[in-house]
């Protein structure tokens, strides 16, 4: 009796798919399933991202009416020639590259000791406080943070009034402050992957290292650093490429001589869009080269 009674109940789930035509169809056609899954991200990626990027790059070959600054389709390499013939473009590219590398290095130098402290030394409570402290600035507006740095480092600002107590004074607006500001902006993107990577290092590796007689510094150099490399590279991709594209930091805390690639693009974007498009190839080239170099280290596969 029990078995006969339970038989129809068991057959019921088999009947259910009939009421779910969509899932049935998806189940039978794996390609459709894949398509449905990827449709949205692909539309975004191809339609909005790659397509607009391609349009931008095509514009780099177009002409501009000198009077009305209207863009006319055509073909010229003059816009690219300008990148080399105008000395400001070359020096600005190199300066931007240097700033981006400095920001990346500075972020790494801050992130490693902080990560080791958070992951291995701090109490759980302290760890939570630090994690919030690192991510909290991400919630504030980007421009707000730049203006905050501006107010801090202005001549009669917070930094100088504190440094003045011991007779020191800040460097004034310029490249060092730009580097500091960008580090402040992008530091979380470096700190979080580094912290996660350090947490994943088994604590007994530290014990083993100590048992074999290694001092703290030797342990960091020979055990922690090799295991950290993928995380550092992942973080550096963010800090490097975000710094390359920035121009507001240079505008607000840059002083007289810290024009960046973004500043030049912004100056041209309305009056001379083809030149702006041509110049935007420079940071793209820098990032591609950077990614190729990091790929050779094999770090990207482990990201």
């Amino acid at each position: 009796m029990t078995s006969t009674a339970s038989a129809p109940t068991r057959s019921e789930p088999q009947a259910v798919p009939l009421h779910r035509p969509v899932s049935t169809a998806l189940h039978r056609r794996p390609r459709l399933r894949l398509g449905a899954l990827l449709a949205l991200p692909l539309t975004w990626l191809v339609g909005l991202y790659i397509f607009s990027l391609a349009l931008l790059l095509i514009t780099a070959f177009w002409l501009v009416d000198p009077f009305t600054s209207l863009v006319r389709p055509g073909f010229t390499l003059d816009n690219f020639a300008l990148l080399f013939s105008n000395p400001a473009y070359v020096s600005t590219s190199l300066r931007t590259l240097g700033i981006a590398l400095a920001v990346t290095a500075l972020s790494a130098v801050f992130a490693i000791p902080l990560g080791i402290f958070m992951a291995k030394i701090a109490s759980p409570w302290m760890r939570a406080v630090l994690a919030v402290a690192i991510t909290l600035p991400l919630w504030a507006g980007y421009l707000v943070k730049i203006v905050a740095m501006r107010i801090t480092f202005t001549e009669e600002g917070f930094f100088n009034s504190v440094a003045g107590l011991i007779g020191g004074r800040g460097p004034g607006f310029g490249i060092p402050i730009v580097i500091l500001t960008l580090t402040y902006l992008w530091f979380p993107y470096m700190a979080l992957p580094v912290y996660t990577a350090i947490r994943q290092i088994p604590v007994n590796l530290f014990d083993a290292s100590a048992d074999l007689g290694a001092q703290g510094w030797t342990t960091i150099r020979t055990v922690v650093m090799p295991l950290l490399t993928p995380a550092l590279i992942a973080g550096s991709v963010f800090t490097f490429s975000l710094s390359l594209g920035d121009y507001l930091a240079a505008r607000f805390v840059g002083g007289p001589n810290s024009q960046m690639i973004g500043s030049i693009i912004a100056s041209n974007i309305n009056l001379n869009p083809p030149v702006a498009a041509a110049f935007s190839v420079v940071p793209i080239a820098f990032v591609v080269i950077y990614l190729l170099v990091t790929r050779r280290t094999g770090a990207l596969e482990r990201m």
Partner: protein, 390 residues
């Protein structure tokens, strides 16, 4: 010895002649610019009920826009733009009916056919009270045809922190010369149009360059201006493009002297400490005008708005709100407060504004009337400007 005396005399005589020509160029008489033929409105019909305006911050405010909507039934949609370039870009979308264009945007808009000529007969409030200096300027009147209805104007002044700069600077030299006592504490405007400020200085101090209009520079004159800007770069504390940055730069003590607008001085909220002056060389400045889109679908509302805002009281409200000299001089007699405002902004002082060169788009055709050379255009100015900051 005699020769040496004679040549400058000749040069200055030639300069006087040229200066005479240039004022003709300014009024737009002696200059023909090829512009597309766009029909002008002949008469007004029923208001369409909607009006989309691109304007500077403070030009379209509920305080006077609401009354306009009540009077005409035209609902005003405002879009605030931060730069002239942005205004040009927005107007080219064809989605806006009106723009408050400055002189460095207007020529571009006219030449590209983005804006239509204006029938001044349909704007009764545009009359004798509009100050002389704002009528028929090159940036809004082309080939004798008007394209803009003046709103207001202002000069780029030399602002200084009177705690540090104790004597009123009479010349722009304090921001240009490397032996300036304030080297390292100077601010300068961060845009290609600032090249014109260098040209104004050179026009006065190096007459042999033959500059008669700071917006009509041939290659040699542009190079000279860029050299001056590069010299200035060594003594600049920072450049400003953003008004907030300029105000904090002065308030924070990073800069003590540099180019400014009267309204920014007002925003420091300490006009005793921060003083402004129009130096002997004169200065650049700006003059804004309403321009109507050639693709406008609300022509009637647009004309009604231009007329409404040209009335003495509304024009004055805009001018006071933004901090500039109103276009309609009749406003200055409406109240004591108005008179004080006009006094502060030199609204009716044509002598003051004779020394002010309103922002104008640099084009290949020399707008000072020269035909034997080609002048440098705005793209060339931009490329040159970028070399200043290296």
């Amino acid at each position: 010895m005699k020769k040496k005396v004679l040549i400058p005399a000749f040069a200055s005589a030639a300069l006087l002649v040229l200066a005479g020509c240039s004022s003709d160029g300014q009024s737009g008489d002696g200059l023909f610019i090829d512009v597309p033929d766009i029909p002008m409105a002949e008469e007004l019909g029923e208001p369409e009920g909607q009006l989309d305006i691109v304007a500077w911050s403070g030009f379209v405010e509920p305080a006077w826009a609401d009354q306009f909507t009540e009077d005409t039934g035209c609902v005003v949609n405002r879009r605030v733009a931060g730069t002239s370039d942005e205004m040009v870009t927005l107007m080219r979308t064809g989605e806006y009916d009106l723009v408050s264009a400055s002189g460095d945007a207007s020529l571009r808009l006219i030449a590209a056919g983005d804006v239509a000529p204006i029938n001044l007969d349909l704007i009764p409030n545009f009359g004798d009270d509009i100050v002389e200096g704002m009528k028929g300027q090159i940036y809004d009147t082309i080939n004798g045809q008007s394209y803009g209805v003046p709103i207001g104007r202002g000069a780029n002044i030399l602002q200084y922190n009177s705690d540090v700069v104790t004597e009123t600077p009479e010349s722009w030299s304090v921001v240009w010369e490397t032996d300036s006592p304030y080297a390292g504490q100077i601010t300068a405007y961060d845009a290609p149009i600032y090249i014109a400020d260098a040209a104004v200085y050179l026009m006065y101090h190096e007459p042999e360059l033959g500059i008669t209009n700071p917006y009509a520079l041939d290659q040699t004159q542009l190079d000279a201006a860029i050299d001056l800007l590069k010299q200035q770069n060594t003594i600049v504390a920072e450049y400003w493009a953003d008004p907030v940055a300029q105000i904090t730069s002065f308030l924070g003590g990073t800069t003590v002297v540099g180019t400014s607008w009267e309204v920014l001085r007002k925003f420091t909220e300490d006009t005793e400490k921060f003083q402004g002056v129009l130096p002997v060389e004169g200065s650049t400045g700006w003059s804004d005008a309403w321009m109507i889109s050639s693709q406008s679908d609300s022509v009637n509302c647009a004309y009604l708005w231009m007329d409404y805002t040209s009335a003495a009281d509304v024009n004055g409200q805009i001018a006071m709100n933004f901090g500039m000299a109103p276009a309609n001089a009749a406003f200055c007699e409406t109240s004591e407060e108005a008179a004080a405002h006009c006094e502060q902004f030199n609204a009716t002082d044509e002598e003051y504004f004779d020394n002010v060169w309103y922002w104008t788009t640099p084009i290949e055709q020399c707008i000072d009337g020269r035909t034997d050379v080609q002048c440098t255009n705005f793209q060339q100015w931009t490329q040159a400007w970028l070399t200043v900051k290296g």
